[in-house]
Symmetry: D2
Subunit: 340 residues, 4 copies
C-alpha cells in the first residue's frame, strides 16, 4: 500500500536521526539553553538574514499557533484569518481556549486577500460600535495554505503593507514552510523574515521528528516569551532535541533540498492524475494535491494508495487530498502511476 | 428630539422604581438570598409553569450570556449561533474570553434554521476529523433576534427536537423577551420554558433599571451556579434589587403589558414609514424596525429623531434601526408621523 | 433585631435614591457615554486632584477586581496580595478564572509590609529559575483591609516606592474607601491618587445602590478599557445609573460625610464591647470591628443583633465581625449597648 | 565535570533510541492512533493491572499537569496541592492560565497529610461562605515529591480514602515515578493504579527522550480527552514516538530496572556526603538528594560537579540538590567520592 495521507507519517530524515543518535548520551542543560539550540538559532538567523531575530523552538503546530497568537494579543484582541485557516477549524479551539476570538475573513483558495483585509479593518474602525467588538490584533496566514496554495511575493508585500498601516502584527504559520519555499517562484525565506513580524519554520512535516522554530524580527512583540511558552506547556525539558534537529536541517541546505523532492514528486503525481482525466480541485504547486473525484474512482484508488477524503464536491463526488513528503521516493510515484 | 436609538435609554417603569424607593432602607441579606428574590423567583416559576426551575438574577445581557454559556459548556465545547447572533458580534468576545469558540451557522433574518442545525451536527459527527474540532456543546438563539424577528412555535419545536436528539442544550437569550412575547401570535412563556433548557427573561430593556432572570428547567446543567456566577463577577451584593424589580414586573402582568405598548408603537411607526414609501429591510413584528433608507432621507429624519445606522445596504443607502420601548408614548409616535 | 452583618444590607442613601427617581424617565445614551457619567467623572477627578485620570464605572467589587487586574497583567503575570486579600479568598477564583495566579504574601492584620514586598521581589529576580515562575505583575492592596485596618501614609508611600522601583503597578481595592478615608488620621483621597496607579472608589458599601468608580492616573496601563470591561461582562447598558449616583455622592461631600457616621458608630460599638470586657481581635479604626468571643457570649448577643462568625479563635471561641454602615443610627447603637 | 543538576540532561536510554531508529522510516497514522501506541498502552494497562484504563501519551510534565487538571475540573473548581507542589511554583502558572486556582495545603517535606486534607475539606464545607470560594475539585500529589520523599502505602491509602469520601479525584504527578517505585519499600504500580483516579508515568526523566503516559482508571472523569489534549496543544502529530518509547520502557522491565540504578547511585552519593559530615536537608530515599551546605563547601564541590542551589538555609548556607539519573555510572559516583 502506498501512503499519501499526510507528510507526518514517517520519523525524521536519516541525517537528522543520525545526529540525535550521535549526541544521545551527552549531557546538556535543559529548556533550550544548550549549545545545540544556540547553534541552530544562529543558522536560522543567518538563513533569514536577521541577526537580531528571536528564535525559539516549540514542539508542534497547534501548540505553536496558540502560544504565539496568545503572546501577540492583548485580552480584548482577536486574530484574523482566512475562514479555512487551520486555527479556525482543526485546532480544537486552542486559540479561543486562551481567550481570543478567531475573526474569519473570506478565503480565496486558502489565502487572505489584501483588499479584503483592508476593507475589514477600515469597516471595523469606521463602525461606531467597534468598542463593543473584538479588536483585530494580528493577522494569521499560512504558507502554503490549507489548500496547498502560495502567496506571491507581491501578495505578501500587500498584506504586510496593510498590516503595518494598521499596526497589526503579521504572523505566518509555516508548518509546511519548506514545501512552500521549494515551490515558490519568487518568495524566499529572507522575504518572509522581512515581511512577517513572526513566523515559524515547520520541522515536524519537513524532515524532523518534531519541532517548530518560531522566528520574530520584532522580539518586543513577544515579551518574556520563555515564561509564556512554559505557561502554555510548550517547553521541552530536553530542548536540545529541537536544536540538534534544526542544526541538521539548516546545514548544507538539507531543509530546502528534501522539501524540493516532495514538491517534485507531488507534481508528477498531479500530472499523472490530470492525464488520467481527473480534475484538480485547486491548482496547488506544493506537496498537497486536491482533486474532485467520483466516489467510485476514489474507491478504486484506495485499493492501492491511502489519501484523505476532504469534503463532498457534488453528488457522489469528493474532494480528496494526496500529500507527498521529503521521503516520497521515485518508485512510490512510479508504482502509483502504474496502478492508476 | 425624539429618541428611537434603543430600548435602554430610560430608567425603570415607575411601578418598579416605586418599589425600589419603598424598600430602600430595609435591611436584607445579600447575594439574592433575600425574601424579595425568593418571591420574584416564585412568580417567575409560576409564570413559566415550572415549579422546579432554577431562577437566578444577573445584571446585564452580555454578562448573562457569557456566564450561562460558560456554565453549560465543557472546555472542549463551543456554542452554535446564527452568524448575526449578539454573542458573535457585539459582546467583545466575552464567550471566547472564557475559552469557548462561537460556531456560526447561517442566519435567516437572525434565525437559526432547524434543518441547517441538523445538517451541521450530522456533518460534524460524520467528519472523521471531528476529534480535532470544537465540539458543539449548546445552541444559542434569541427571541426576538437581532433583526427583531421571531421564531414560530413550530420553528422552536423543531430546534428543540434537533437539540434534544443530539443532546445539546438549547439556550435562549431573552434580552427583549417581553417584546417577543407581546408580538408573537403563538409562542408563550410556558412554551419557552418547555422547549428551552435555559433562557433568560430580560429586565434591562423591558421595564427594569437593570437585571436579567436566568431560568433553567434542568438545573443539573448549571451545577454550583451561585459560585460560577460569583466567579464571573456577575453576583450583585444587593441582590434584592433584582428581586424587587422582577417581583414588580411579574405582578399584575406588568411585564407583558408594558412590552405590548412598545410593540404597538413600533407597528404604528412601521406603518407610517411604509406609507411614506420606505422599504422595511426585514419584516419585524417587534419593537425593533429596520429600513433600508437613502442616506439623504436618513439625514433628513435625523433632524427630529435619533436612530441607529446599522450597515450599508447599497450605494448611498443604509439600513437603519428604530426601537421603541415600554415608555414610548402615543404622542412620540404622533409627533414622529407628523414630521415624517 | 439589630443588623451588623455587613454594610450592604440597605439600598442607597436617600439623596442618591432621590436623584435616581428624579432622572428616571430621562433618555440618555447607554454604556456610560451620558452627561451624568461625564459629570461624575469630573467631580471624582477634581476630588482626586488628577485632571487627566481615567474614570470608569463598574457594578460590583469582585467584578472590578477581576476586570482591573486582568487589564493590568500580561498572560505570564500574576498579582501579589496579602494572604487574607479578598481576591485570594472570597471571590470564587475570579482572578484565576481570567488566567492569572494570585501570589500571596504574608498579611499583617490584612496589610502587606513594604519590606516583605521588597524581599519577595528581590528573591524572585535573584532566583535562577524565575523564568519558570509566574512574574509578579501588580500589587493588590485594600483600604481598609479585610480586617478593617488602615495603611498609614508612610506605609503607603513605602509600598508605592517599592512598586515603582520594580515597575509594578499598585492597585488599591477601595470597596470601603469612604470608611477608610473617614477613619484615617493622615491619608487623603489625593494621597491615594498620587501613590496608587489604579484604585477604585467603592459605591456599593458606601451609600450607592451599587457601583464602583475605577480611577487610574496612568490610563496607558488599561488600554481599550471600554472593550475590556465589555468583554468581562462588566458594562452596564444604563451606565448613567452609576454616573447619577456618584454625582450625588461627590456633591457637597456626601460620600465622606455619611461614611464618617459609620465610623463613629463603629467606634461607639467597639468601646461598649471593650467596656463589657470583650477583646478586640484586631484594633480596627474603621466600620468593621472584630472580637474574639466565647461561643456562649456570641450566642447571647445573637438574640438581639446579627453579625458574622468569621473563624474559630481557640476552643469554644470565635472571631466575630460587627459592621456598621452609613445608615447605622444613634438609636441602633444605643439599643445595642442597652442590651449588651 | 560531573553533572548532577537534573535527570533530563541526557537523551534516551540506548534501547529506547534503538527502537526509534529501527522504526524511523515506517509510515503510520498520526496522533497516537498507530499500532505502537496501542501496544504500549496495552503493556501499561497490564503493568497497572487495569485492563480498562484510559492511557494517553503527552509530551512533557507541565503540559500533562495542566491538561489533566483542566480536564478534571469544572470552572468553579480548583486543585489542592502541597504548597511546595510543582504546579504551585515552577510551572509558570499553567494551571491558573486555564482558569483554575491552585489551593495550597501545608506540605510536610513535600507531602500532603491526610488529616490536613480532611480538615481542609471539612472546614470548607462547614464555612457558611463557601459558595463564594473556589470549590476543591481535585487533589494533586507527586510521587516522589519535589523533596524526593515518598508516600508510604498507608499514607496513600489514607489520602485516597479522604478523597473518595469527599468525591474528589486523586491525581498523581509521576514525572519521576520510576525512581519512586524503585525506592519505595511497599508501593507498587498496581497500588497507584488502585488508589489514584488519574496519574502519569513519567518518561522524560526516566529513560525516554520525552513523553508522559497518562493513565486513568476512571475514564469518565476525562471525557473527550483526545479533543481536550488537542486544544491544550499537547497532541503530537507523530504520536507513535511516545508509543515506541513506552513500548521499549515497558518491555522486560526496562523502566524499573534503569530507575533502580539511579536510586542506588543516589544513595551512594548520599552516604558519601553524610560520611563527609554534610547534613541531608531531607531524608530522601530517591534519586534527588538535598543537603544544607555552607556556601564555601558548595563552592568547593562546584569545581568538579554541577548541582542546583535550591534555597538559602541559614546565613551563608544553602540547600543544594544532587540528582542522579538512569544513566549515572558507577564511575561517576566513584569520581565524585574521590574528589569529595
Amino acid at each position: 500500500m502506498l501512503h499519501f495521507d499526510s507528510d507526518y507519517m514517517e520519523g525524521a530524515h536519516p541525517k537528522v536521526m543520525q545526529r540525535l543518535v550521535e549526541t544521545n548520551l551527552e549531557q546538556t542543560p535543559g529548556y533550550g539553553l544548550d549549545e545545540y539550540s544556540a547553534k541552530a538559532a544562529g543558522l536560522i538567523r543567518e538563513a533569514c538574514g536577521c541577526p537580531g531575530a528571536l528564535v525559539h523552538f516549540l514542539v508542534g503546530g497547534t501548540q505553536t499557533n496558540a502560544t504565539v497568537i496568545d503572546g501577540l494579543l492583548r485580552r480584548y484582541e482577536g486574530v484574523m484569518t482566512a475562514d479555512s485557516g487551520h486555527i479556525n477549524s482543526h485546532e480544537a479551539g486552542a486559540v479561543e481556549s486562551s481567550g481570543h476570538k478567531v475573526l474569519a475573513l473570506p478565503g480565496h483558495q486558502g489565502k487572505v486577500d489584501a483588499a479584503d483585509l483592508e476593507r475589514y479593518l477600515s469597516d471595523f474602525y469606521n463602525d461606531e460600535n467597534h468598542g463593543h467588538m473584538v479588536q483585530p490584533g494580528a493577522l494569521y496566514i499560512s504558507f502554503p495554505t490549507e489548500w496547498g496554495t502560495l502567496y506571491s511575493l507581491e501578495e505578501l508585500e500587500s498584506l504586510s503593507r496593510v498590516c503595518h498601516t494598521f499596526k497589526i502584527p503579521l504572523y505566518m504559520d509555516g508548518a509546511r514552510l519548506g514545501y512552500g519555499l521549494a515551490a515558490s517562484p519568487d518568495v524566499t525565506l529572507k522575504d518572509i523574515a522581512r515581511l512577517c513580524d513572526v513566523f515559524y519554520i515547520g520541522g515536524t512535516k519537513c524532515g524532523a521528528l518534531f519541532g517548530e522554530a518560531v522566528v520574530s524580527t520584532r522580539p518586543e512583540l513577544l515579551p518574556h516569551f520563555f515564561t509564556h511558552v512554559k505557561q502554555h506547556g510548550a517547553m521541552m525539558a530536553k530542548g536540545r532535541l529541537q536544536g540538534i534537529q534544526f542544526e541538521a536541517l539548516f546545514t548544507d541546505n538539507l531543509y530546502t533540498e528534501i522539501c524540493g523532492n516532495a514538491v517534485r514528486q507531488a507534481l508528477r503525481l498531479k500530472q499523472a492524475m490530470v492525464e488520467k482525466g481527473y480534475r484538480p480541485y485547486v491548482d496547488s504547486p506544493t506537496n498537497q494535491q486536491f482533486f474532485c473525484l467520483p466516489d467510485s474512482e476514489a474507491e478504486r484508488i484506495s485499493k492501492f494508495a491511502t489519501f484523505e477524503i476532504w469534503a463532498p464536491c457534488g453528488p457522489m463526488q469528493s474532494i480528496v487530498r494526496f500529500v507527498t513528503s521529503w521521503n516520497t521516493g521515485d518508485s512510490d510515484i512510479e508504482e502509483f502511476i502504474s496502478k492508476l
